[in-house]
Symmetry: C2
């Protein structure tokens, strides 16, 4: 069987991007590479819909989020960490590792965080320095209310909004400047269609101002030093040159397709996937599903981990299983990045066969037909 | 002109490695990738000559060094930072950013740090938690006395030896375990012949023990978490998959050549380069030159920056200029990684032409002949 990758990162890398990364090594302090750097920066700003600096780091998205914590916060700072899944939990833990005073707004996995709870936490804690939210919680497939939370934070002069958009940016429109997002983080191996190894972080003027008083230790993740270098198309430390050659190409592909079309495509694929799930007699786990990943709730007669493993071992497909307590109860199909309609049909057909092998009653072709109807607008 | 890269990182990437990185993206939590991970780990251990964990990070070498400071030290810890160039200075600054009490053993750029000064610093500071040394100071091309310093530190139960071997590992033999090096750091884009984006760090039992009391904040660079994952061929955060595919191939190439042969090759290239420098009527800047990079001292009639720029603009060659106050007085030729004898001849010939254009009197072919004689053992 051919290898097929439908996990929420890494995602498939287009051939054009692979080839762009396969050229001879170029030194980073050359006019030729500075041009690549410039194109990456402006391409990212377009995707972020921002005039803010978007800094490029040689790290995963987790490292980029840490750069935000290290650069903009101090030990003892109060942080509201909104979480309803594994990634939201990670940022709360990370803030604690840096000595922050973390107020957790915790919601059951699969549910959307009620905006009233966020408002209550902010009202109860006027001295909050930062609010963390995960736009697309990959562990459950939930889309969180970034727009509503941003409206609550925007006018607070001493509170920064950190958005983990790692599986959201490039999937739907996130107008960073319109929403007033101070710190928006993403990674290379998601909708940006690159291998893992690059993290991206945008920084608002409010955040740069906050950095003046921030006392967390930082060096590799010192964003001021990066800013001062990157505005000159340099970086403080050796950049991941080959990945950035790929980044330029991937950003060009997204521009050629047109960002609104990229977002429409993701919406179309997500809608069809959800239709296919229903067509197979299953249901979507997330209360409000993100267009990046569809988490499927398994009934007691179907083991999610077995679906994941059957696809892996029998069909050479990597989807994602459930995480932590959801290991057996959920499986997840990612469709962010380099995917089209027929990729969705393919994975749905494989899932139909896999669950059939697992003795779960499904009408073969029913999920496929539901996806087809969705694509045809019927 | 073809592009030729002779800078101390990034260095040229062999075609085999480029191709290994150009395959379709693989998910990191698959048996296939776990095998790659295992091969990378054991290959690195062989090159490090260690039984210690060698951890692989998605960062530059600077990030890997920071992982050591974040993981093994606490604010207020006393650190002896030996430095005689830009990279040694960097680690002193980094330790200060983490609140360490830094005792600097500072030597003029280009000179070797006298071992007596290190001994005096250690004798005067019995409570030192760590000693930092740069094996190959790329800014000046000096090889530092790692062996002698390791003998001073080895038997101190509460002092860790951190070695920056970023442009040394894979160039000459550094027997980590024999020397008792606690923390040895390198990066992908040097002798390992890969693009930038991976950092490597070995950790001794003494360092793991020190971690139990270490209080610096850490999350992305929390090496205990990495250890616990990497021993299972996983990583705490998404690894740089494509670079690791390349790493496996590069380690295989080094193994096929034979590590002693790799070290001999570097010694041969370095010796010939130094002979060529003398043949051109110039001299080597470093008191004790490393085999990774040859820094050339410019007489008042030759501007080092002009040599660097002429090679760049006229011959499409990237060597390295001098750094900071050495900008005009030095230029540097790197020969670590994927290089052979004729690459040296090529760059020497280009330098002869460049300095001739700069009106510096050189006998064309004299440097080339000196390198040829060196290679032929004459």
């Amino acid at each position: 069987m051919k290898y097929r990758l439908l996990a929420p990162g890494p995602t498939p890398v287009p051939e054009r991007v692979l080839l762009a990364m396969g050229g001879p090594m170029l030194h980073h302090r050359t006019p030729a590479f500075e041009q690549v750097f410039e194109q990456c920066r402006t391409g990212l700003q377009a995707l972020y819909q921002t005039k803010n600096d978007v800094l490029i780091l040689a790290s995963s998205g987790t490292g980029a989020f840490e750069a935000g914590i290290a650069s903009f916060l101090s030990p003892g700072d109060k942080v509201v960490a909104i979480h309803n899944g594994k990634f939201g939990e990670r940022w709360a833990k990370m803030a604690k590792a840096y000595g922050a005073n973390v107020v957790e707004v915790k919601t059951t996995w699969g549910k959307v965080t009620p905006i009233a709870e966020v408002k209550a936490a902010l009202d109860a804690n006027p001295d909050v320095r930062a609010v963390f939210i995960v736009a697309s919680e990959s562990s459950t497939g939930v889309r969180q209310p970034v727009e509503e939370v941003s409206a609550l934070v925007k006018d607070r002069p001493d509170t920064l909004l950190f958005v983990d958009a790692i599986t959201a940016l490039g999937v739907w429109s996130i107008p960073t400047d319109v929403l007033g997002i101070d710190v928006l983080v993403t990674g290379s191996q998601k909708a940006l269609m690159l291998p893992p190894g690059l993290g991206f972080i945008s920084v608002s003027d409010k955040a740069w101002k906050a950095m003046e008083r921030a006392k967390n230790p930082k060096f590799y993740f010192d964003l001021r030093r990066e800013r001062d270098n990157q505005r000159k198309n340099q970086s403080a430390f050796t950049p991941a040159v080959s990945l950035m050659m790929g980044l330029r190409e991937a950003l060009l592909m997204l521009k050629e397709e047109g960002h609104p079309n990229v977002f429409d495509r993701h919406a179309r694929l997500a809608k069809a996937t959800r239709a296919a799930v229903a067509g197979m007699g299953l249901s979507v786990f997330a209360e409000r599903p993100a267009d990046s990943i569809t988490s499927v709730q398994c009934p007691p007669t179907l083991n999610g981990d077995a679906v994941y493993k059957t696809l892996r071992d029998r069909y050479n497909i990597t989807i994602a299983g459930g995480q932590d307590h959801l290991k057996d109860g959920v499986f997840r199909i990612a469709h962010l990045g380099y995917f089209d309609e027929l990729d969705i049909i393919t994975v749905v057909a494989a899932i139909e066969m896999a669950v059939t092998e697992l003795k779960f009653p499904v009408t073969l072709g029913a999920g496929v037909a539901a996806a087809q109807k969705s694509f045809l607008g019927k």
